[in-house]
């Protein structure tokens, strides 16, 4: 084996022994590059990373010893050291012999510190690749020289391009297995070039390497590839521009993380600068309020700064007392980003549960968290063919484009201009899982033309005139549980107490407002959203609203709760076991559903998710409707 020992790394080692302070001085001034490696299952990613660690002395003797034992036990390289074992961490995947998650590795050269995200290659793990790519400055796309550009190569390149990685390296690996043949290399590069152009990759750097043998990893050209006149992989990684330097040239933006208020005399706004730079005296604008002020100082533990730039965590104080809190964005006054509440967005679905059109998710972008809904996708992308396909929803590892509506305006920039203000995640409100990654493409013009009309008679006035506190009494339960009956009893009792009420009934609403909706999951979500909006308007008018809807999904009930003021939403669980409700079968619907004549019927072929922590529960097996109504009235007193 022609082991190539890199000069650079030996010089570094020698310096540690000879003059540690000089070594530390160099290390102190290194920059950092984050990159990802992607390839198909057998392209040799883990071996390449193992090689980079090994060549830069990041493997200790005891690890090497363990590695050599492991190599003999489970390795795939016979008696040779299997570098891949060093990189494949978790026990589960060591048994399977594949990488199943993103792993981060570290190594140094004389010029840089590197963080490598090792991303798995097989189809079902788009999720992991997107995760690894989101923080990367550069991507190394591995291709097996024997196999050439595969479907997976195209998929990985597309994902890297989608996530905005500008530096793409095509590493044609296992050159040792094709006798270092230049024609093979040239053919792969030409194939890749035509594909890259198709999907909009403007440039890439191609290298012939062998991770296993070490060719063109640290020194180029290797004696085996005299025809190659480009840099070695390491030389290339040492010279590309890092993302944070690019970000520094853009207009100033800092999402506010934390208001720092140790005493009455100090009020600072802490955050990580996303783009641009700032100096004391600069005019800034706080969004979304739009208020402006000069910067007074940039405070850090190490003393005030004369200037701060993208990538630094600082605390800014302002000359003028203006409102600013977590979620706001401080930006240069003359060139602020937009605010909007409707967007076109690219989404990568990361969760086992499909996207629910119209369901409320938490959207976190920078330090802003808002409630958001996603519309039916315009299309999803087949990541293998780049075809745009019609889609009703998005499933795990799907990529699609859809409109996203937020419940209040957020400060944003298109993702391609600003990762921090354009990249977001969606969070399931019930399970708290991170279900999607999104990239805002642009705001929809219509959102900028609809404004709130301020009215003089406020919701408080409306409520005071009616001598009551507005509330929504939200009855939920199976069909036939007694929701409408009990709600009707409660409304009669409230009427006797001179309260102003309105009962929204599921069946009635479907005759008018929601007559265009069916019973698919998406339609059911929209049904509840509209009822929630109507109930909200009615509480604005000061009414006590009673609603009687099956409303089977927790997420939608939560969505309505979030639309309303605190304590306004009273969830009433009409707790009737399925057998009891089915035995009653007042409308004959259970019978039809059991016969298969009625699809998506709650409790039969569509789930009911009972409330986990309802304000009120009534048990209709033990209570009559009259008793249940009395119980509810007792629970909601006083009414003002």
């Amino acid at each position: 084996m022609t082991e190539q020992k890199p000069d650079a790394i030996y010089r570094t080692d020698a310096l540690i022994a000879e003059d540690i302070d000089a070594y530390l001085e160099t290390h102190q001034h290194k920059t950092m590059l984050r990159f990802i490696t992607c390839g198909s299952v057998d392209d040799g990613k883990s071996t390449l990373i193992g090689r980079l660690l090994y060549d830069s002395k990041m493997i200790f003797e005891d690890q090497l010893e363990a590695l050599s034992n492991d190599s003999k036990r489970v390795g795939t390289q016979g008696q040779e050291i299997d570098f891949a074992l060093l990189v494949d961490g978790l026990a589960a995947e060591r048994e399977q012999g594949i990488t199943i998650d993103v792993a981060y590795r570290f190594f140094n050269t004389e010029k840089r510190k590197f963080i490598v995200a090792d991303c798995p290659g097989h189809e079902q793990y788009t999720r992991n690749m997107v995760t690894g790519a989101s923080t990367a400055d550069l991507a190394v796309i591995l291709v097996d020289a024997r196999k050439g550009v595969l479907v997976q190569t195209r998929r990985h390149s597309y994902l890297c391009h989608l996530i905005g990685i500008k530096n793409i390296v095509l590493a044609v690996n296992k050159m040792d297995l094709v006798d270092y043949d230049q024609a093979t290399f040239d053919k792969i590069v030409a194939d890749y070039a035509s594909f890259a152009e198709e999907i909009g990759i403007e440039s890439f750097t191609a290298l012939p390497i062998s991770g296993f043998k070490g060719d063109n990893i640290t020194v180029a050209p290797s004696e085996n590839t005299p025809w190659y006149d480009g840099p070695s992989l390491i030389e290339h990684l040492e010279s590309v521009e890092v993302l944070s330097s690019v970000a520094a040239d853009r207009p100033f933006r800092m999402p506010v993380q934390w208001v720092n208020r140790p005493n009455l005399d100090f009020r600072g706004f802490s955050g990580l600068i996303a783009t641009g730079s700032v100096k004391p005296g600069d005019a800034i604008r706080v969004l979304p309020s739009g208020k402006t002020s000069p910067v007074k100082s940039i405070v850090t533990y190490d003393g005030d700064l004369e200037e701060a730039m993208a990538g630094q965590s600082v605390t800014i104080t302002l000359e003028d007392e203006i409102d600013c809190s977590r979620g706001d964005v401080i930006c240069v006054a003359g060139n602020p980003p937009e605010t909007a509440d409707q967007f076109e967005s690219t989404l990568v679905w990361l969760n086992d549960e499909d996207m629910h059109v119209g369901r409320g998710y938490w959207l976190k972008l920078g330090t802003q968290t808002v409630s958001a809904t996603v519309q039916q996708p315009k299309y999803r992308v087949d990541v293998n063919t780049m075809e745009e396909l019609a889609a009703k929803t998005l499933s795990l590892n799907d990529i699609g484009v859809a409109e996203v509506y937020t419940d209040r305006p957020i400060v944003f920039e298109p993702y391609e201009d600003n990762r921090t203000l354009g990249g977001f995640v969606l969070i399931d409100k019930i399970t708290n899982a991170t279900v999607a990654a999104g990239m805002l493409n642009f705001s929809l013009r219509r959102s900028q033309n609809v404004h709130w009309q301020a009215t003089d008679i406020s919701r408080r006035h409306h409520a005071e005139m009616k001598n009551q506190t507005p509330r929504v009494l939200w009855f939920t339960g199976l069909s036939g549980s007694g929701k409408s009956t009990i709600a009707n009893e409660v409304e009669k009792k409230l009427a006797l107490m001179n309260r102003h009420t309105f009962l929204l009934d599921g069946d009635n609403v479907r005759h008018g407002l929601n007559k265009d909706l069916g019973f698919t999951e998406a339609d059911r979500i929209e049904n509840i959203r509209r009822v929630g909006e109507v109930a909200r308007l009615m509480t604005d008018a000061g009414l006590i609203v009673l609603t009687a809807f099956i409303s089977p999904f927790r997420a939608e009930r939560q969505m309505v709760r979030d639309m309303l003021e605190d304590h306004e939403f009273i969830e009433i669980f009409v707790d009737t076991p399925l057998e009891v409700a089915e035995a009653r079968d007042v409308k004959g619907l259970y019978k039809k559903a059991r016969e298969g004549k009625l699809k998506n019927f709650t409790g039969i072929d569509s789930p009911y998710e009972p409330p986990q922590d309802p304000e009120i529960t009534v048990n209709t097996v033990e209570m009559t409707p009259e008793e249940a109504a009395d119980h509810i009235i007792q629970q909601i007193l006083p009414l003002k």
């Binding site: 540690i16 022994a17 540690i20 302070d21 070594y23 290390h27 920059t31 950092m32 200790f60 003797e61 005891d62 690890q63 492991d70 060093l86 961490g89 978790l90 026990a91 998650d101 993103v102 792993a103 981060y104 590795r105 570290f106 140094n108 510190k113 992991n128 997107v130 995760t131 989101s134 923080t135 890092v242 944070s244 520094a248 934390w258 720092n260 208020r261 140790p262 100090f266 600072g268 802490s270 990580l272 405070v299 850090t300 533990y301 730039m309 990538g311 965590s313 977590r326 990361l350 938490w362 972008l365 920078g366 330090t367 990762r419 977001f424 995640v425 969070i427 708290n432 991170t434 990654a437």
Partner: protein, 303 residues
């Protein structure tokens, strides 16, 4: 200034993470083990909130078997930072007299793993900062910055939340908690260099000095408390003065010393870089239960 060095970027990233936790969780705490990584974490916390003190306490899950120098620095560091210091000792371990000599792995399990769970439950902390790094150990290389634990403190490596950009999802159910690792992306060299550049006070045991030592089961240890050694072992082992230092700090009977003359920070870093065995080797904890030792421990709730 036209670019940030890797240490500046790592520092900014850690501060960003610490602030996110303070802003988005209800009751955070910083685990403080008095080691060098803890010292760096504490320093970063001070920087994150300056001029305010960090808005959370420090928690030391104590085993009663730490070095005396560690106890001394613990009190001083908390006081200097203006932070509350909580010390927790598992009462059951205390009552049963659990010690590293007689009880082997049970010592770590009872004092540290159980002690940590009990302490988090007792105070109701929903987020705990730890100083673990991805370069330390293979299973840690795959752990997220925000690592979720079930209400029984278990870790499920197959069910981690994807972490994109620098957006962290801190939402959780009642009873669940998060372990947060702000220095995930630091290497051992980064930690040492940061200590040097920022002039951070660390326990003197990291520097070589003549110390009373003994050999036990083939390892070199320091006789930090002769009386206790005698009580537990029945007789005092042969004590020899050697110039030694420690690469990691834990319980004094579990933390192997290395013979060394490195008395300054530069020398310690030099020695670290030239050493060919990895950092945790001095600690006995990784050696049991085969290749997946740490991963198994984490699933059981060890940090």
């Amino acid at each position: 200034m036209t670019f940030l060095t890797h240490l500046q970027r790592l520092e900014a990233e850690a501060i960003h993470i610490i602030r996110e936790v303070a802003a988005e969780t209800e009751k955070p705490v910083m685990l403080y083990s008095v080691g060098k990584d803890s010292a760096v974490m504490l320093h970063l916390a001070k920087k994150a909130f300056y001029p305010s003190p960090p808005p959370f306490p420090l928690l030391h899950v104590d085993t009663t078997w730490k070095f005396k120098d560690m106890y001394a620095l613990r009190e001083k560091a908390a006081k200097d930072a203006g932070m509350e210091l909580l010390v927790y000792q598992n009462p059951e371990a205390k009552e049963r007299g659990i010690n590293p000599f007689d009880h082997g792995p049970l010592h770590t399990d009872m004092w540290k793993t159980e002690g940590l769970k009990q302490a988090l439950d007792k105070y109701g902390f929903d987020a705990a900062f730890g100083g673990a790094r991805r370069d330390e150990e293979k299973s840690r290389a795959k752990e997220r910055v925000f690592s979720f634990r079930t209400s029984s403190h278990g870790w499920d490596p197959k069910n981690q939340r994807p972490e994109l950009w620098n957006i962290y999802n801190a939402r959780k159910k009642k009873g669940e908690s998060i372990r947060v690792f702000p220095i995930s992306n630091w290497t051992e060299l980064d930690v040492w260099q940061y200590i040097q550049l920022e002039d951070i006070e660390i326990v003197p045991l990291y520097f070589a000095a003549p110390r009373p030592t003994f050999i036990y089961e083939g390892g070199l240890f320091m006789a930090d408390d002769e009386q206790r050694l005698k009580d537990v072992l029945g007789e005092l082992p042969e004590i020899t003065t050697r110039s030694v230092r420690f690469r990691t700090l834990g319980c004094f009977p579990l933390t192997g010393a290395v013979e060394s003359e490195a008395a300054t920070l530069s020398e310690v870093i030099q020695e670290t870089l030239l050493t060919t065995t990895s950092e945790r080797q001095g600690r006995v904890i990784d050696k049991d239960s085969g290749g997946a030792g740490m991963e198994k421990k984490k699933q059981e709730g060890y940090f």
